[in-house]
Amino acid sequence: MMQVRPNLDYEGPKSHQHHRAFVFGFEYGFLKEKLDQKEAAKRANEQLGFVFDIGPNPWSKPATSSFGCKPSLVKMEYVSPEGLRLDGRRPMEMRQIRAEIGTVARADGSAVFEMGNTKVIAAVYGPREVQNRSQQISDQALVRCEYSMANFSTGDRMRKPKGDRRSTEISLVIRQTMEACILTHLMPRSQIDIFVQVLQADGGTRSACINAATLALADAGIPMRDIVTSCSAGYLNSTPLLDLNYIEDSAGGPDVTVGILPKLDKVTLLQMDAKLPLDIFENVMGLATEGCKAVANYIREVLLENTKQLEYRRGL
């Protein structure tokens, strides 16, 4: 008799038997000694509030179920054996991106950038007279950046004081990234202010902010060497994943944020706060770079469309 199996086009990661199913955010090594594994899994699931059917796994090719392996290898499943992520994407798929230019009426340049559920608004003011005379630079423009998260942007309404460590750090990162591409020497004794605010946070806010800031700067007619685009990639379940969302981001795995100048083919931003073997890191970074290029293509399309529209509406 032929065995009927669900049709799996995608083989999934090679070692998928190992991390098929069942979540322990942390190891339950201490339970292993006292209880049998099934018991441990049940207990852990109860503690974490997950309801899982711990039956034999019909899809695993070897006869042993996922519990045949050591509990220390059992982790959250971020990529299903079908090769789909939690939100239904493939590992190398980005979330849907959308951009809109000219969203803040009184700003010199402004844009909204969305990556899936992450939504960011950016406004650029300047080049304008330097507010604090002592900061004036006689041969180039002063670039300032302020990043903030709206109170309603996250799931639980947080009341953070303005200028906490995280925002200060991201402000600095965005400022340095944008300063690298703005031709500041063309606007001496002036200042450019970039304000970015996260309206909805679902992972990858840093990248979204940089993309929004690029669009806003281009809208403000500020001369730039190249557009900067950014995208993140991670590594979970021994699979490189493009454009992590909040759940994947909070898994604690490596999260590589890359910012590139696509035309010049240069990297202006590279951040990772975890450890990765070098060969895997190269893979992950390559994936993020590909993501950046895809974003760049989209951003250019949006900018060109906007330019054409402005030109034909003005007429003559």
């Binding site: 230019i101 000219g102 009426a105 010199d108 340049g109 300047g126 080049p127 304008r128 007279e129 006689s138 423009a141 031709l183 606007m187 001496p188 004794r189 002036s190 281009a218 809208d219 403000a220 007619g221 500020i222 001369p223 730039m224 060497r225 190249d226 557009i227 696509p262 035309k263 010049l264 250019r300 900018l303 060109l304 906007n306 330019t307 054409k308 529209q309 402005l310 030109e311 034909y312 509406r313 003005r314 007429g315 003559l316």
Partner: protein, 319 residues
């Protein structure tokens, strides 16, 4: 769509779309490949010599745009005309600005440039119209001429070596603007023309189209153009003016109507010139549209349709 956040109903949306499509088909520049974005390569004939203009840079032997805009070629010069950038002053431009600071022998004016412009006490006519050296007393009385937040009309005189701009107001037509509204629009919508001061007789209004995108709509002031005004007469007039410090209702309505016409045109992104402003204001009054309804979606759609028609007529006439 940029700048257009109007609550449109279904028919209005379709009408607006159709009008804009018509405008798009009529435009010569938008259909060609002259539009570039940041880091686009500009096609040039590398065998011929060419000059890099504003908004371009050289990268690996290629000419690359640094701003979004339209490529313009003048003989050998290739440059990118940026849309939606801040104002770039040129000598002789008429600008409207707001006084930010009263400093030593000068006023600082905000003119939508990357730095504040400077109007020296010595480069403007005294209100009494006499040509003489400026004394220390004049310097002390500077606030009697312009104060902070006053709106001033002036002309670009020259540039300093550090890139800052100097203004002058050496004629009676320049100076402080009162009894009116200041509108701030994108500078690329104001085209350079012979005449930037307009007196709209049917409305009794002065319209100043500053090249920096600051537009003044105010009550008409007599004798501004007269270079030589009898001093006694002038002082007498000013006392009379002070007595009637209020503007009649009809005048205010006219000011608002013209101002709203400018607002409509700038949100639609159409070039703003005096003829078009008058036409738009007259359209609104002929259709009995209230002043506050001019900023509604229906009037925007009407103006867009009207503009599409006007431009198509113009292109037909050219052919």
């Amino acid at each position: 769509m940029r700048g257009l956040q109007l609550p449109l109903n279904q028919t209005q949306r379709i009408r607006l779309q159709r009008a804009l499509e018509k405008l798009h088909s009529l435009s010569s520049k938008a259909n060609s490949d002259a539009s570039v974005t940041v880091a686009d390569t500009i096609p040039v004939n590398y065998d011929d010599a060419f000059l890099k203009g504003h908004g371009t840079t050289e990268l690996n032997g290629e000419l690359v745009a640094t701003v979004c805009g339209v490529v313009e070629r003048v003989n050998k010069l290739v440059y990118v005309r940026a849309l939606r950038a801040r104002y770039k002053p040129e000598v002789g431009d008429i600008v409207v600005g707001r006084v930010v600071e009263v400093a030593q022998k000068r006023w600082r004016l905000e003119i939508n440039f990357s730095q504040d412009a400077v109007l020296m006490l010595s480069s403007m006519n005294m209100p009494d119209g006499i040509q003489r050296r400026r004394t220390a007393l004049d310097e002390l009385n500077m606030r009697s001429i312009f104060e902070e937040n006053d709106v001033v009309c002036a002309e670009v005189r020259n540039f300093h070596h550090d890139g800052s701009v100097q203004l002058q107001a050496r004629s009676q037509k320049y100076g402080k603007l009162e009894k009116g509204q200041l509108l701030i629009i994108d500078p690329y919508l104001v085209k350079k023309s012979k005449q930037h001061f307009h007196y709209l007789e049917q409305f009794g209004i002065d319209l100043i189209l500053g090249r920096n995108g600051f537009i003044w709509v105010g009550e008409h002031v007599e004798a501004r153009d007269g270079m030589i005004v009898d001093q006694a007469n002038n002082s007498e007039q000013s006392t009379v003016e002070k007595d009637q410090a209020y503007t009649p209702l009809e005048m205010r309505q006219n000011i608002c109507r013209i101002a709203n016409a400018v607002r409509v045109l700038s949100t639609l992104g159409f070039n703003v010139d005096a003829d078009l402003i008058i036409e738009t204001a007259e359209l609104s009054s002929s259709l009995n549209i209230d002043i506050h309804d001019m900023l509604g979606s229906e009037f925007h759609v009407l103006v867009a349709e009207r503009e599409a028609e006007r431009r198509s007529l113009m292109t037909k006439r050219k052919r």
